[in-house]
């Protein structure tokens, strides 16, 4: 009973947001937005694990999303069922995460962060150059998600599929964070030397965090490829990586719920601003970059008022 009460305490703000958004914006638009928020939240969970739990700087998370998206797109393009392709997309993200974490054995702090940035650039370059598989810079179309003949073409279906994936990802992360792996990640985050003295291998803990983060990114990438329907290497550039990083810090990098709140801010606020902008008078409504300026102001306000993130502790 108390479990249900806890779940409801976490879920009611989301139910309220959706209940308000559907009549205000229209079901299709609101559910389309919810689908992207949830997909971003899954990728954001990966950043929360790597950055918030294990304390590592990850500047190239979009590359792991790209690996998931491309593996899914290529396999589905070759006739594999999306549901069968998805575990391989997740595995590709996890493998990418493991590779990206290798420099952590020798590098730390910002230097390691720079190596993740380099990893992202390499992945983007490979995707652009490997024409025969990825169709290079021209990009590739991705078919819709389907399971046993049922196609998730409607936005409601897409939102439900994403929600199912997010629920599974949240459950897995909650279990991991409460397990010895989670304790090892936090020990490494707080003091690497002390963690090693207690028998925790910092290198192994970091790699585990990156593998989990990469797997979540791969899952998000696979869903993203289906929902957007067209992927090209430039979509997974540094801007996307920084968006994911910003998502984690705005939402609260040390809490799993932070990924959801961060995704809501990153994906939904610019669209909300776009809707409000339509009501501005005269030439104000058509000022170029107005959304970006207002979005920047929202971010600054969130950081000032909630430095630990929306889901984090109050200052």
């Amino acid at each position: 009973m108390s479990g249900l009460r806890t779940a409801w305490r976490h879920l009611w703000p989301w139910a309220l947001i959706l209940a308000l958004a559907v009549p205000a914006m229209g079901a299709d638009y609101a559910l389309g937005k919810a689908t992207l928020v949830i997909t971003y939240a899954i990728a954001g969970l990966g950043v929360v694990i790597v950055v918030g739990q294990a304390g590592q700087i990850a500047l190239g998370q979009a590359a792991l999303v790209a690996l998931g998206a491309y593996v899914q797109a290529v396999l589905v393009g070759h006739g594999l069922a999306p549901l069968l392709a998805m575990p391989l997309a997740i595995a590709a993200g996890a493998l990418g995460g493991a590779l990206a974490s290798l420099p952590a054995r020798r590098l730390g702090g910002l230097y390691f962060g720079m190596s993740t940035l380099a990893f992202a650039l390499i992945v983007e370059e490979v995707l652009a150059r490997w024409d025969s598989v990825t169709q290079g810079a021209a990009g590739m179309a991705v078919a819709g998600f389907s399971v046993f003949g049922w196609r998730a073409d409607a936005t409601l279906a897409q939102a439900l599929v994403s929600l199912g994936a997010l629920a599974a990802a949240l459950l897995l992360c909650a279990r991991l964070v409460d397990s010895r792996h989670g304790r090892a990640w936090r020990a490494v985050r707080d003091d690497e030397v002390a963690a090693a003295a207690c028998g925790v291998s910092p290198a192994a803990a970091k790699m585990q965090a990156f593998v989990v983060g990469g797997a979540l990114s791969g899952l998000a990438g696979a869903l993203y490829a289906h929902w957007i329907g067209f992927i090209s290497p430039e979509q997974f550039g540094l801007v996307f990586s920084f968006e994911l990083l910003m998502l984690a810090f705005i939402g609260g990098a040390r809490r799993l719920g932070g990924a959801l709140w961060g995704a809501l801010v990153i994906v939904a606020i610019p669209q909300l601003i776009a809707v409000l902008r339509d009501h501005l008078p005269g030439d104000w409504a058509r000022a170029a970059g107005l959304e970006l300026v207002l979005f920047g102001a929202v971010i600054v306000a969130v950081v000032l008022l909630r430095p630990s993130g929306i889901a984090g502790a109050r200052p």
Binding site: D28, Y29, L36, A138, A141, Q235
Partner: protein, 387 residues
């Protein structure tokens, strides 16, 4: 009872009269809603802003004259910043919330490819997107229309014309590493193949690169005598400036993406002599016909800015929409508009545009460009539209 029946009939008649003339989404008795997913803050904002202003200007003119069959046209602009994620949400907003009748000039291939299925699945028209992707007009779809000449077609004709007329022996290519660059490369290769020649050297750059010194050095080492540029404005200037800086007086030919007043404004003397392909001439006031001069004045007065080729494009696209909507008649639906556009022929106008022609079998309105050259700090047209 009789009174009640009469009242009910009268009420029904009132309802029928007050109902919209057409049940098509985005059309009611008073207005037609047109949507565009543009780039006003991203990497091609220098196109997006003037294109939007050109469209606004044409629609404002129509509205001031009483609209199309009594309906005002309302343009709803969404800024996706070249980001397909934002574009998908923007397209859904325009489809569902704003009930856009048609989409015009959606901007950028990732944006167009991500939003096009949403738009056509909702039964809305997808008109004249800024993307070289063939999926915008092939395979034939009842709601998709394109009027931008494909890079492949006009660069094939332009390269062939240049090599044949000027006798270049060593043609090379500098291209942006994306779908745009690849399309141009295919066109250049096809032209050279028809002349039984090969592309001597090719080298690429990533979008946003500012230093092209290594690429220019490589092309020079290959002793190219014509360099085709699949670049946009900034990279065109950088390529020409680098070549001149190292004393290499090679001829260069840029696509319509580099045919812009900004090219000679930014490049100055370094870009003097650059060849370019124009699919729509730049609206220079000097030497303009009276209609064009008056248009430039109206544009300046409306936006407090100088118009450029992108403004003309926006204006032209909106004009194609207006003329087709007028020809369709008061019973405006997506289906009726599309079938009318398939019969439309738009002759060359005071901007110097090509003629646009659509048929039920071909939804691509134009395949041709013409050659221009920068002489004394401005683009001068040096050929008619090339077949």
């Amino acid at each position: 009872m009789k009174t009640l029946r009469s009242f009910a009939l009268a009420a029904l008649s009132c309802l029928a009269l007050s109902a919209p003339v057409s049940a098509a989404p985005g059309v009611n008795a008073k207005e037609i809603v047109v949507g565009t997913v543009s780039d006003l803050s991203g990497p091609i904002a220098m196109l997006g802003v003037p294109v939007r202003d050109g469209m606004l200007m044409r629609f404002d003119e129509v509205n001031a004259g009483g609209g199309v069959h009594g309906r005002r046209i309302r343009l709803v602009v969404e800024d996706a910043g070249y980001d397909p994620k934002r574009a998908v949400l923007a397209a859904r907003k325009l489809v569902q919330r704003d009930q856009a009748f048609a989409f015009i000039a959606n901007m950028g291939t990732p944006v167009v490819m991500a939003t096009m299925p949403i738009i056509v699945d909702a039964g809305r028209l997808h008109l004249f997107p800024f993307s070289p992707h063939r999926a915008t007009y092939e395979p034939l779809h009842p709601l998709k229309f394109q009027n931008f000449a494909p890079y492949f077609d006009y660069m094939e004709a332009a390269t062939r014309h240049m090599v044949e007329q000027r006798g270049y022996a060593r043609t090379c290519l500098l291209y942006q590493d994306d779908d745009y660059g690849l399309e141009v490369m295919k066109g250049v290769e096809a032209a050279l193949a028809r002349l039984d020649r090969e592309l001597v050297e090719r080298t690429s750059y990533k979008r946003g690169a500012t230093d092209l010194s290594s690429q220019i050095a490589r092309l020079r080492a290959a002793r190219c005598d014509l360099v085709v540029l699949a670049t946009v404005v900034r990279e065109t200037v950088a390529a020409m400036a680098e070549a001149r800086k190292i004393g290499w007086e090679v001829d260069m030919l840029v696509t319509a993406s580099g045919y812009s007043a900004q090219t000679h404004e930014l490049g100055g003397a370094a870009v003097e002599g650059l060849y370019g392909v124009s699919v729509l001439p730049h609206p220079y006031v000097e030497g303009a016909n009276s209609q064009l001069a008056a248009w430039v004045e109206r544009y300046r007065a409306r936006f407090k800015a100088e118009p450029n080729v992108w403004s003309v494009m926006g204006y032209t696209l909106a004009d194609l929409f207006v003329r087709t909507a007028e020809a369709t008649g008061p019973e405006l639906t997506q289906e009726a508009f599309a079938r009318t556009l398939e019969r439309m022929q738009f002759s060359r106008d005071y901007f110097g545009s090509p003629s646009y022609r659509f048929t039920p079998e071909d939804h691509l309105g134009n395949r041709h460009g013409r050659l221009a050259q920068i002489r004394d700090g401005r683009w001068v047209l040096i050929s008619d539209y090339l077949e």
